[in-house]
């Protein structure tokens, strides 16, 4: 007779579907969020365009690595220049690290010279959980048909060391370049690295 012994604590039961709604090559979950200027953006607004989603927390050392080195801004500029939509999404809950007022966000975006299309605020974490966003940064690439073509880390060097950037393989660049050229994306998923998203 089977004897049922153990399940993990019920407190984490609700997490079982944290990333259940996304799948590579399937339709990316729809969302509507306000940006740091109060303007609403829906994924539907960008039909026919590539969309990059970058989960962000300005105070996370992994995010600092990519912004203090200008790596992320350069990447944003390069692809926004190619008509790619680049959305920063912050799922930090109010009172937690990475959650800021709109003024503070805009000040920081300016100081860092960010080149993203918009900074979206997801303080109830609903969009983050739909996408299974676990870390900052955690990157997603959606193609013009609205399908998810990449989900995972920004690159293959999990560290907070700026010196690692030059030798890293940037998975987002690889996915966008391949897809923009009409080729298949080689690395479609990778393990994201960074700080936990502060839901």
């Amino acid at each position: 007779m089977l004897k049922y012994i153990f399940t993990l604590a019920a407190v984490i039961l609700f997490l079982t579907n944290i990333s259940a709604q996304i799948k590579i090559d399937a339709e990316a979950p729809k969302f509507t969020l306000k940006d740091s200027n109060g303007k609403e953006h829906s994924l539907n607004d960008f039909e026919g365009k590539y969309v990059v989603l970058e989960w962000i927390n300005f105070d996370c050392p992994f995010v600092k690595k990519h912004y203090n080195s200008d790596n992320m801004q350069t990447l944003q500029k390069e692809y926004v220049g190619k008509d790619v939509v680049w959305l920063l999404i912050c799922s930090s809950a109010e009172g937690k690290q990475g959650h800021f007022s709109n003024n503070e966000i805009n000040k920081r975006l300016k100081a860092l010279g960010a080149n993203a299309t918009a900074y979206l605020i997801d303080e109830d974490g609903k969009v983050g959980k739909k996408y299974g966003a676990k870390t900052t940064p955690h990157m997603f690439v959606i193609n013009p048909e609205g399908k998810l073509i990449y989900a995972g880390a920004i690159d293959d060097k999990p560290s907070t060391d700026v010196d690692d950037i030059d030798e890293a393989v940037n998975y987002v660049r690889e996915a966008l370049n391949a897809s923009l050229a009409g080729n298949a994306v080689k690395v479609k998923t990778s393990t994201p690295y960074g700080c936990s998203v502060k839901y």
Binding site: F6, I12, K23, P61, K96, G132, C195
Partner: protein, 267 residues
């Protein structure tokens, strides 16, 4: 008396987040010998550092040694971690302290004083995360005869070893890919114990859904542990490397709480 190193932490705070020290059984060494040292991390209250698979976020601790030319050192034996639920995420790591074990081998030691230094690069998190480095050093003195480790130090190393997962050959573990889960069949050696739980810690990243519910059943003398896979995983590997922890312990005396095995995956 236990030999402790001096330690420095690259933190500006009054209380460093992570301090390290080198622990050795003796400060005397001889040529062509081997001995163990431990690097102990002392982690500030409420903060944690990370295991080799940090879980849903974080970064493993790395060690870089500077050694005399007559010394060589092994990769670390890594203590089993604890599971943390942080902001709805699961992390694997350590609170308060963690001791990593290294084996030093000596060849022809010509100098009387032999200084070893270790730099630990870590990420410590509470709500926020702060990366840092800590350095510890220790001098070993060349001796003509091997000095035995004293009783107190032996006890400390025995305690550290109980935190290192053992590769218990008498415990047979098989792994089967089943729907969106991996089923582990675990046949404990010796008398069958009534385990209250088995915690699963995969060394490889990106395969399992850490926050999902695992199930444990006892059937015909075998424990059946079902662990859900990450829906965003890549291709499953041929072999899984994992640590299994039970508070009751895997040995008769209940001393060794964790085992680590590389298990062929039946797909």
């Amino acid at each position: 008396m236990l030999i402790l190193s001096t330690a420095l932490a690259a933190q500006n705070n009054d209380e460093p987040l992570v301090l390290i020290e080198i622990i050795a059984g003796s400060d005397s060494i001889i040529s062509n010998d081997s001995f163990y040292v431990a690097v102990k991390l002392k982690i500030k209250d409420e903060w944690h550092t990370y295991w080799e698979n940090p879980g849903d976020g974080g970064l493993k601790t790395l060690f870089e040694w500077t050694l005399p030319s007559s010394f060589s050192i092994s990769e670390p034996a890594i203590p089993y971690p604890k599971k943390f639920l942080v902001d709805d995420m699961v992390n694997f790591g350590y609170e308060k302290e963690a001791a990593y074990l290294f084996k030093i081998k000596t060849s022809d030691v010509t100098d009387f004083e032999n200084r070893v230094e270790v730099k630990a690069t870590w990420l410590a998190c509470k709500e926020e995360c702060i990366p840092g480095t800590s350095i510890a050093a220790k001098v070993f003195y060349a001796s003509k005869e091997k000095v035995k480790t004293n009783k107190d130090n032996r006890r400390i190393f025995e305690q550290i070893r109980t935190m290192i997962p053992v590769n218990a050959d008498n415990i047979k573990i098989s792994a089967f890919s089943k729907n969106e889960s991996i089923l582990f069949e675990i046949v404990p050696g010796g008398t069958l114990k009534n385990f209250s739980r088995i915690d699963f810690f995969p060394v490889q990243q990106g395969i399992f859904s850490y926050a999902s519910v695992s199930k444990l059943l006892l059937e015909d003398g075998k424990y059946l542990l079902t662990v859900p896979l990450d829906p965003m995983r890549g291709e499953l590997p041929e072999e899984l490397d994992a640590v299994f922890y039970t508070p009751e312990g895997w040995d008769e005396a209940g001393i060794y709480k964790a085992i680590q095995q590389k298990i062929k995956l039946n797909k």
